[in-house]
Symmetry: D2
Subunit: 298 residues, 4 copies
Amino acid sequence: MVTRRTDLALEAGELWREGGGDGPPGVAEREWEEAGFRLRELRILDAQGEKALGKPAGTYLSMDLDPLTHREEGAFPRAAALLAGLLRRLLSIGGDETVLVCGLGNAAITPDRIGPEALRSTLATRHLLHSLPETFAGLRPVCALECGVMGATGLESAELIRAVTEAVRPAAVVAVDALAARRMRRICRTVQLSDTGIVPGSGVGNARAELSRATLGVPVIAVGVPTVVDAGTLAADLLTEAGLREPPEELLSRTGAGLFVTPRSIDSLVRDAGKLIGYGLDLALHEGLTVEDVQMLL
Amino acid sequence: MVTRRTDLALEAGELWREGGGDGPPGVAEREWEEAGFRLRELRILDAQGEKALGKPAGTYLSMDLDPLTHREEGAFPRAAALLAGLLRRLLSIGGDETVLVCGLGNAAITPDRIGPEALRSTLATRHLLHSLPETFAGLRPVCALECGVMGATGLESAELIRAVTEAVRPAAVVAVDALAARRMRRICRTVQLSDTGIVPGSGVGNARAELSRATLGVPVIAVGVPTVVDAGTLAADLLTEAGLREPPEELLSRTGAGLFVTPRSIDSLVRDAGKLIGYGLDLALHEGLTVEDVQMLL
Amino acid sequence: MVTRRTDLALEAGELWREGGGDGPPGVAEREWEEAGFRLRELRILDAQGEKALGKPAGTYLSMDLDPLTHREEGAFPRAAALLAGLLRRLLSIGGDETVLVCGLGNAAITPDRIGPEALRSTLATRHLLHSLPETFAGLRPVCALECGVMGATGLESAELIRAVTEAVRPAAVVAVDALAARRMRRICRTVQLSDTGIVPGSGVGNARAELSRATLGVPVIAVGVPTVVDAGTLAADLLTEAGLREPPEELLSRTGAGLFVTPRSIDSLVRDAGKLIGYGLDLALHEGLTVEDVQMLL
Amino acid sequence: MVTRRTDLALEAGELWREGGGDGPPGVAEREWEEAGFRLRELRILDAQGEKALGKPAGTYLSMDLDPLTHREEGAFPRAAALLAGLLRRLLSIGGDETVLVCGLGNAAITPDRIGPEALRSTLATRHLLHSLPETFAGLRPVCALECGVMGATGLESAELIRAVTEAVRPAAVVAVDALAARRMRRICRTVQLSDTGIVPGSGVGNARAELSRATLGVPVIAVGVPTVVDAGTLAADLLTEAGLREPPEELLSRTGAGLFVTPRSIDSLVRDAGKLIGYGLDLALHEGLTVEDVQMLL
């Protein structure tokens, strides 16, 4: 069978259902609406669920961005507040414990720039709390790390994050990254959060090393937005839709190798999605901040 | 019939031949090798040729970059010198006449950044010749204009170029832009030069306005490198190769609309191609400069 | 007598008074407070005033930024609204006439980056009104031009602005630039607006060409923030304060030539001042916009 | 007595001599010329020398850049090779041991950007040797770390460097930084190298934390270029030259606090000096590379 690549748990669930029959075993799903946004929770409960969806056990939350995409009045502050609420559900730590936010991805490749863009709107506060503890008393210590590109540093992102985690000893790490979706209609239209960290094979780039409680020793929350579709996945779906029951493997691998598909407007889509994640993080991490406060502090 | 989009004249020729029969009418082609690089000349001679290839009459030169891609010893200076030679063939102007080099494309979108990258290696000399005419006596006056993004300026690139052309009154304009290829294997593997300027519908972005002798009043040399394949073109070729004689139009337009396909390593590919074009321009425009001279002057 | 350089009309007035006696002839001054900010108006009425202050006849408005510097609650929106009011006083044009905003200065030199920073918060709207006239009906057509650096383009800023002015035919040009103050305490603490345009010798860089109604054919409003003190001016004041009646010219010119003095925190000062100017321009140019609207549109 | 601030050991020696009498005790100096460049070695031998010059014991090498400043033919490759030779004298490690190069300083402040500029020309090779050990067999593993700005990350540079040093375990650290000179004529005209690391109070920014064998556990080579003169130092020298025997402390501290003096052309000066350091490092760290090799690899 031809594999479709997706980093979205909800699409992995859809793929399972396309095989026919019921929902995947070992998986609990629910869906609801809040403030005009559609939210979903998918929990992979056990080894059966892991096998069915090809993802590690844990909680996957996602939020559709339609009201934002349609530029509804007041959609941005509502979206940021909802995202902050979802993040807080996954981050169960005290209000003054340090958090390390890592922006993964190569800023020189537009659809891989979700992490760096999110950092542009993320408040780094740890040094302020060291130097002016009274002025900034209400804030949580946050470090923000842009991981850069291996070609520029000679260091893998995972090495750098591990080194800084050991030095800073945060209570949790949040890793922001670009994802691959199966369907073009999901590009920059959904945000996924999970408490499983980041596992090899995710992301727009070819190889991400694992970032998880197992490798870092602290909880790792992954926040991602799909920005590309793998060209091989697009091709396989296209041939299936055109009626070919068995798309030729050779043709697919020749078409898809090392290629991705992305929309022409990817620059503004990535900028908007990164801004939302940054604001969502700020509201989640610092008790009592508003969108206006963040705008003034940035 | 399903259309394949390509900005490369040589691919337009291939498409014609796929229709069966001889080479396109009203078109003269030749191919040769120099210093290890394969070069091609395609001339569209008349209205028949224009119709067959869907491009305006004129000369299209192209150069394959294989020796550079394989990182052969000394390939870069040889490639830059060859490119300079091709440019000089199209630019028939005196050695001290002003040239305006325009870098088209949105620098925030990786595959659209060929123009801005080329400008990073293009020597702007006009102000030096004004202020220190004796020191820089051997150089030609060159202006280098990054056209930026309409969203940031409120101005179309073509408006800006026309305004500067009227002010500077160059003997020729060189417009550097990213192109769409039909075949992935051509991405960043070929450079195309033509004396026809740039016509609507070219480029990675959705719409380029015409830049030509008709609109600017001076000869316009276009220099381009393919950096994307249109997703609809990829899909149509894929379905044909898989044996479907009539790929369903609806499926194709749904798949391809506003999407492009590009390789994961597009950032370094674009950087390398832009550098080559910049050096090629410098060697073509200034008599007697070497690659080492350019490196020191940049 | 040793010259002190200043681009601020109010400091030119102070310098005159240091010479002893009354206020400068041919000059009308007044000062008031609004919303916690100190505002000043200085009008140079005639040739006597021009000679006394060494600046062309016209209206110079300035606004002290103290409440912003002290990070008073709500200071930013108040400052932006006040600045917008001052701009509207100088810009007497209809609500749908085009305005060209030019950001002068070299973005690679921190204190010269006021213009480029202001453009980051300036809404360019002209292309939107062309493509979607109904959606953006309330907005004024605005073009935003970053003039770049002669070394990168071979074009002088003034040439580029003149070319675009001829092409776009705006009803007015607004030129944003960094200024030199006489006193360090004014660095990034005041904004100056004038209806005289920009005259040679202003700015952080060595040479600005004249941008005025005389050279562009339309009214030119200059908006500036002092970001440096000329080293020779600092030296002359220092020697005078230390009690030397006649600071030796040779020593001064040796100390000051081509040097400027600026604070270590100039990067964040310039960022903040540029943002204020951008927002002030947006509120002045588009009827009915609020700071929140601008934040969402940027 | 009024203090003059300088990060250059050779200027500290000059200051001592201005006090009258012989050269400083506990200090050995020599000076010579090579390939047209003037080189100096100053060794602080003991506690007496440390006290006299206010710097830790160790070797300080410096190289004047005059032939480069005057754009002599072939000056750049000669300067890079000489700098590489000086670096190798201080770095006594095996050819395949890992080196960590750190670029200190805030890239948003032009004269503080020496470190980030040097990194743009420094080859990061460690990841290449991991992934393609045979292709890159001749190179040394090098990591290149841009330390960024505390305000953007919440991390001090020294914390980040210590964390990466512990993770990567290099045989030596090279720290590139901007320096303060006493004399304007030394701005970007000299490079200083030392085996003492970086000590608090150096640099253009207000506070650098110590980076030395004591804090990092491995040898730390500091490479620096003076890019500013402290305004208080300039003022004190100016008043002394004007004949004031006792410049008033209050006036000086009021003039100088938090200010620096720098030339108007600082952007191109810093770019050129950073490039030289990057190339010098590449030639020093990788046996057998030439300037042309580096140009192709970057």
